[in-house]
């Protein structure tokens, strides 16, 4: 049995293509039904998010299965195959397992380490389980993927470091101010990066925003956008003491906030620490502000340094994550291959027994004068022959089950002896959370 993956992601397709092949979660039953109705496809799961559309399936016929799923994706969305084909990737066997483990662990995400993807795969799997399109292998496979993702999350720091300026600013603020839920942000001047940072601060729980700008209307407009409070630029220093976080990016030619101002402001706020970020060039905030006790000034360059360090850290962590995935692939692959050993042995035995019985019956029925215990003796003889003949291949198969080449043996045996397709029992499967 083989696991195959067919799909496209932000790495292979632009959003225009991705949105065309997305499956709506509200009507997922229909495509799931069609998917497992395809020839040779036994189980199937559809994962559809804004960054990727992927189908996981099991099949005996790898090449045929992949081709049929590709055609299915195109047909279902009424797209010509040629349009879709260049964006699609497909994996089978170990590569498929690795791919899904990496996706679930957020190693394949646009922002590596972002946590949403795991939840999205869980939901997709939930639908597949509900509509019974996933069976013993995909059940086990996806649960394994979830536990791998959990391991990656707890054993590496892949998700814990900031790699954007805005995010790095938030992380840094937390290192100084601790909990942000009672902290206020002051935006001085407008600028894309400052606005983005302000948004991040609000998302991270900051209490409120004050906005000031040389043109008051602009401040009012921005404040409205953030649900914040506009402040007249001339009155900046009357309000600055209420701000814990100051993001500055005006186009002013000189510094507008100096160490003396900051000292005054700090005194008014009983020396509660303040966090300044200066994004403007030329600078808005005098570098000497950093020397004032309880004031911490950072520039974009400082934030970039953090990001560089985090990126380096993150790629280290990603390596660790890949190692975890390697281990888990080995384990899962072993399970997948031993899955077929016992049924193959049973099928082989019954095939031999069938032949033995048929030949025995033929011989006995054509025999006119049979010695008294001939039938019994022949029975013993043929069974002994059969057992002797089967002994070596059976034990070879069992041993291969502990090694790695079991697929080879199983396929060879099934072809050589024309064994029928194997059926799996769902019973032995015990789902872990």
């Amino acid at each position: 049995m083989n696991i195959i993956v067919v799909g496209l992601s932000h790495k292979t397709a632009a959003v225009e293509i991705r949105e065309k092949v997305a499956f709506s979660p509200n009507q997922i039953e229909k495509p799931l039904g069609e998917l497992i109705g395809l020839e040779g496809i036994i189980e199937g799961v559809i994962v559809s998010t804004c960054n990727r559309v992927e189908i996981y399936a099991t099949t005996r016929d790898i090449a045929g299965g992949i081709a049929r799923i590709k055609r299915f994706m195109a047909d279902y969305h009424h797209l010509p195959c040629e349009v879709l084909e260049p964006h699609l990737y497909s994996y089978h066997a170990e590569a498929a397992i690795r791919h899904v483990f990496r996706v679930a662990s957020s190693l394949d995400s646009m922002i590596v380490g972002e946590p949403q993807i795991l939840g999205q795969i869980k939901t997709s799997y939930g639908y597949a389980a509900e509509f019974k399109s996933s069976g013993i292998i995909l059940n086990r496979f996806l649960h394994k993927a979830f536990s791998v993702a959990k391991r990656v999350r707890t054993e590496t720091k892949i998700a814990s470091s900031a790699v954007s300026v805005a995010f790095a600013a938030v992380e840094l603020a937390k290192k100084i101010l601790g909990d942000l839920s009672d902290k206020t942000v002051m935006l001085v001047g407008a600028g894309e990066m400052c606005e983005l940072a302000a948004k991040h601060f609000l998302n991270s729980g900051a209490k409120g925003v004050m906005v000031t700008n040389r043109t008051y209307e602009r401040a009012e407009k921005l404040a409205e956008e953030f649900g914040g409070e506009p402040v007249r630029f001339e009155t900046l220093f009357e309000h600055l003491h209420r701000a814990d976080i100051v993001l500055s990016s005006t186009g002013a030619p000189h510094c507008i906030i100096g160490p003396k101002d900051v000292k005054e402001v700090l005194k008014r706020r009983r020396f509660k620490p303040m966090f300044f970020i200066d994004i403007a060039v030329p600078r808005d905030i005098d570098p000497k502000v950093n020397e004032v006790e309880n004031a911490y000034l950072f520039t974009v360059d400082n934030l970039q340094e953090i990001i560089q360090a985090n990126l380096a850290q993150r790629s280290l962590e990603a390596e660790k994550a890949e190692q975890i995935i390697d281990q888990e692939i080995g384990q899962f692959h072993k399970w997948l291959s031993t899955l077929e050993v016992t049924p193959t042995i049973v099928a082989l035995r019954s095939r031999f027994d069938e032949i033995r019985r048929a030949e025995l019956d033929k011989t006995i029925s054509g025999w006119k004068e049979m010695p008294p215990d001939a039938e019994k003796r022949l029975e013993v003889l043929t069974v002994a022959m059969m057992n002797k003949l089967l002994h070596a291949p059976t034990s070879a198969l069992k041993q291969a089950g502990q090694g790695g080449r079991v697929d080879l043996y199983v396929d060879a045996l099934r072809q050589l002896f024309e064994l029928e397709a194997l059926q799996h029992d769902d019973e032995e499967l015990e789902l872990e959370e």
Binding site: K157, G178, R270, F271, P273, E293, N294
Partner: protein, 266 residues
């Protein structure tokens, strides 16, 4: 029996120290959990050993330097366990637990002799005084540990040095709060301890305050921490200034503890 507990405690504190120092080099949830467990196990052994010793001696083991050191270390570890649970500050362990371990090892002559307790110590006020004094010292020790961490982190932030240690240390705000809590608990304890001590002094030698070295230095300690608490509450001192003062306070505590012999007892 007491020896056994003592060695067990030293061993467990040793392992916990190693684990906490390892946490400083490399964050791992596994290591953090085990550092905590080892320390709690060590604390339990330490507590049992103290109780065992107390029941053998028939008084609280606070009457000489080794006994006091052991008790000091017990109080520090107990206090740290509380703060670690409350604020999840594993890194504090890397600064505090080694100190506790050193104090405990220094008290190894602890069980050398059992001696007749001088009658002067057989006063309830003395036990009350000593217990509270050590509880407050433990608070100040933890406060000083946090203050050292604060200064390091503050230095990193000011110089924009974002290394591995920077990542592991807690936020300035958390450290400042722990430092304040230590002070807010330690200072009243110290105040009551000094009052109890002077009542005991009156009972023992007939005078509340004799201006011996120990009492004078205790008063200095009290003044330092009073100034710090006052500064925090009224002016809003915090951060670096508060950290420096609480380190200074603890240095004086250590100096008083090790160098100033009590004219009454020793």
């Amino acid at each position: 029996m007491t020896h056994l507990f003592y060695f067990l405690t030293v061993a467990l504190y040793g392992c916990a120290t190693a684990a906490y120092l390892a946490c400083l080099l490399r964050t791992s949830p596994f290591m953090t959990r085990w550092a905590g467990r080892l320390l709690v196990a060590g604390f339990t052994a330490h507590l049992l050993s103290t109780i065992h010793l107390a029941s053998k001696l028939k008084y609280l083991p606070l009457t000489n330097m080794p006994e006091s050191l052991s008790f000091f270390s017990l109080a520090i570890v107990g206090g740290f366990i509380f703060f670690e649970r409350r604020y999840k500050v594993t890194t504090l362990g890397s600064f505090v637990v080694p100190v506790a371990l050193m104090m405990l090892t220094a008290s190894s002559s602890l069980y050398a002799e059992t001696r007749q307790l001088p009658p002067i110590l057989q006063s309830n006020w003395f036990w009350f005084h000593a217990l509270l004094a050590f509880a407050s010292y433990a608070c100040f020790a933890i406060g000083a540990g946090v203050a050292v961490m604060y200064l390091i982190q503050n230095y990193f932030l000011k110089t924009k040095n974002f290394g591995a240690l920077f990542q592991r240390l807690p936020s300035l705000d958390t450290m400042d709060e722990i430092s304040y809590r230590c002070l807010a608990v330690g200072f009243p304890l110290l105040t009551v301890a000094i009052i109890a001590g002077s009542i005991w002094s009156e009972q023992a030698i007939g005078s509340y305050w004799v201006w011996d070295h120990k009492q004078t230095w205790s008063l200095i300690i009290w003044l330092i921490y009073a100034a710090l608490l006052h500064g925090r509450l009224t002016i809003g001192w915090r951060g670096k200034r508060a950290a420096l003062l609480s380190i200074l306070g603890f240095i004086v505590v250590l100096f008083t503890f090790f160098a100033m012999k009590h004219s009454i007892t020793w």
